[in-house]
């Protein structure tokens, strides 16, 4: 569960990243976050995993009060989330296997459990045969699939994806979308910020449109543009 109550994020440059934003996302939902560049989509996403702190308001993610969380608690909040980025954010010096395993090693999983789970998630995203490759040896689409595998390795209740198809061609984007929907079907909440109108229009889910830091539209099964 994610809940924003009257959240303001003031970057101090006369532009509010979030302007008294209130919204609730229930467990198991698939939600698109749409809106023009600079509207506040990324701020909304970053506030969820405490990459930026709100100026005021209340943010709840599962059992965490993100607005008042301490530095020490942040890693534990993030372990309840899977996060996927447009630029993949893989560790360049680690192999694909090691990148996915890292998310499990930080929570002190036993080596045999790590091995088993990494193989499972790599199979889920269809990359078992690339386990020993390095990120620079595989395509953008494959890197994004590795990022998704890493994000879900730890069985998070919520998957946050910030423009996950932004750097990918339409066919690869479709693959990524199918994987995200499959993960959602297993009960994981998916929150996806996107500019990809085709995706939003073809795979209908709840749409949150953000404009100037405010929720401009909250529509179940809506399209990219307001119809």
């Amino acid at each position: 569960m994610i809940e924003f109550k009257n959240v303001v994020k003031d970057y101090g440059n006369a532009v509010l990243g979030a302007d008294h934003l209130s919204v609730r996302i229930n467990q198991g939902e698939f939600v698109y976050v749409v809106g023009p560049s600079g509207a506040g989509k990324s701020t909304f996403i970053k506030l969820m995993y405490r990459d930026v702190a709100p100026t005021s308001g209340e943010i709840k993610v599962n059992n965490y009060r993100v607005d008042s969380i301490t530095n020490k608690e942040v890693p534990f909040l993030r372990r309840e989330l899977g996060i996927v980025f447009q630029d993949f954010k893989l560790l360049p010096r680690l192999t694909i296997f090691e990148n996915v395993a890292y998310a499990l090693q930080v929570i002190e999983k036993k080596p045999e459990d790590v091995q088993k789970r990494v193989n499972e998630v790599l199979a889920l995203v269809g990359l078992e045969d690339k386990a020993q490759s390095f990120p620079n040896e595989i395509s953008g689409g494959e890197q994004q699939r590795v990022a998704i595998a890493r994000a879900i390795a730890n069985h998070p209740g919520i998957l946050i994806a910030d423009e996950p198809t932004g750097n990918l061609d339409p066919e690869t984007s479709e693959d990524i979308m199918r994987i995200l929907e499959k993960i959602n079907l297993d009960g994981t909440t998916v929150v996806m910020a996107t500019h990809n109108s085709n995706m939003v229009n073809e795979h209908k889910h709840r749409v949150l449109e953000i404009s100037a830091g405010k929720i401009a539209r909250d529509q179940e099964g809506g399209g990219y543009e307001n119809e």
Binding site: R50, K72, L91
Partner: protein, 296 residues
């Protein structure tokens, strides 16, 4: 920290060293050059200090005994000298022996002073506990009966004592400056390798790694870099000091001056170099990590 996590950190730190390639090479090279400087200069400074102390300790008070003094009176004088504060050892050198020394030093022509023509005096050679007692003992001895005069090197000894204390003071200052240079160079090199990987650190934070989980492999990596960087300086100092010791000791065999013994000195300096490398490497890494681990 669990043993599993420690094992992971150790493996990861060594793996990172290998995969960082030229960055690791550059960091180790910087540590090597710095520690080489530290090792060579410290070896020189500590030995200069040792030689200065040897020379200083070798300064003695020569108590000249009046000509007509009887054997009994000489013994009495010896007893009185022994009572003076700071006197460690007293040895007797007869006028005959003194002349022999003069002939040995200045040449056979001084033999014509042999026998009754010997103008020299019987001497008590007095060694003191510490160099600071030398002047005091000399002055006190001069007041005793049957003492013609005393000598302790006079202004020469005073100059020497001044020089030695100067060497000591500057040795300490240079050593401290050198350590600062080492801390600065090594920790900055480590800092650069970490700066180049700030993106990696932010990714680690995003997947839920705690600050200590992120920090430890970097600290260990810094320590390995320091340790590997100390190997060449240790070998260079060991081999070159061993060689220098043999060469210099051969020319000092007839004196009371000696260099620091290699088997004890080298163990100390080797340990010191390794500890400086490991310590500064690890500390440099730990300090450089700080800014990347703070919440925005």
């Amino acid at each position: 920290m669990s043993s599993l996590t420690l094992k992971r950190h150790l493996t990861e730190s060594l793996r990172n060293l290998k995969r960082n390639g030229w960055m690791t090479g550059a960091a180790i090279a910087a540590v090597t050059v710095t520690l080489l400087l530290v090792g060579v200069l410290l070896s020189i400074l500590l030995n200069v200090n040792k030689v200065a102390s040897d020379i200083e300790n070798d300064v003695e008070v020569r108590v000249f005994i009046e000509r007509k003094t009887t054997k009994d009176e000489q013994q009495e004088l010896k007893k009185e000298l022994a009572k003076v504060d700071g006197v460690k050892e007293i040895s007797f050198s007869s006028r005959k022996k003194e002349l022999k020394n003069v002939v040995g030093t200045y040449g056979k022509s001084f033999r014509l002073f042999s026998g009754d023509d010997n103008p020299l005096y019987d001497v008590y050679v007095v060694k003191t506990d510490s160099p600071k007692h030398t002047v005091k003992v000399a002055k006190q001895a001069e007041k005793f009966r049957h003492v013609y005069q005393t000598q302790y090197g006079g202004t020469w000894a005073k100059k020497l004592f001044k020089l030695v204390s100067g060497i000591r003071r500057w040795g300490v200052i240079i050593s401290v400056l050198l350590l600062f240079v080492a801390v600065f160079l090594i920790s900055n090199t480590i800092r650069l390798t970490i700066l180049s990987r700030s993106n990696e650190i932010s990714i680690m934070r995003l997947v839920g790694a705690t600050n200590s989980y992120i920090r430890w492999p970097f600290i260990l990596e810094g320590a390995w870099t320091g340790l590997f960087g100390s190997i060449i300086p240790i070998l260079v100092v060991d081999f070159s000091y061993g060689w220098m010791y043999r060469v210099i000791t051969a020319s000092l065999h007839s004196t009371t001056i000696s260099l620091l013994l290699p088997h004890t000195f080298l163990i100390e300096i080797d340990l010191l170099l390794a500890v400086i490398g490991i310590g500064i490497g690890a500390l440099g890494a730990a300090l450089s990590m700080g800014r990347f681990l703070k919440l925005k």
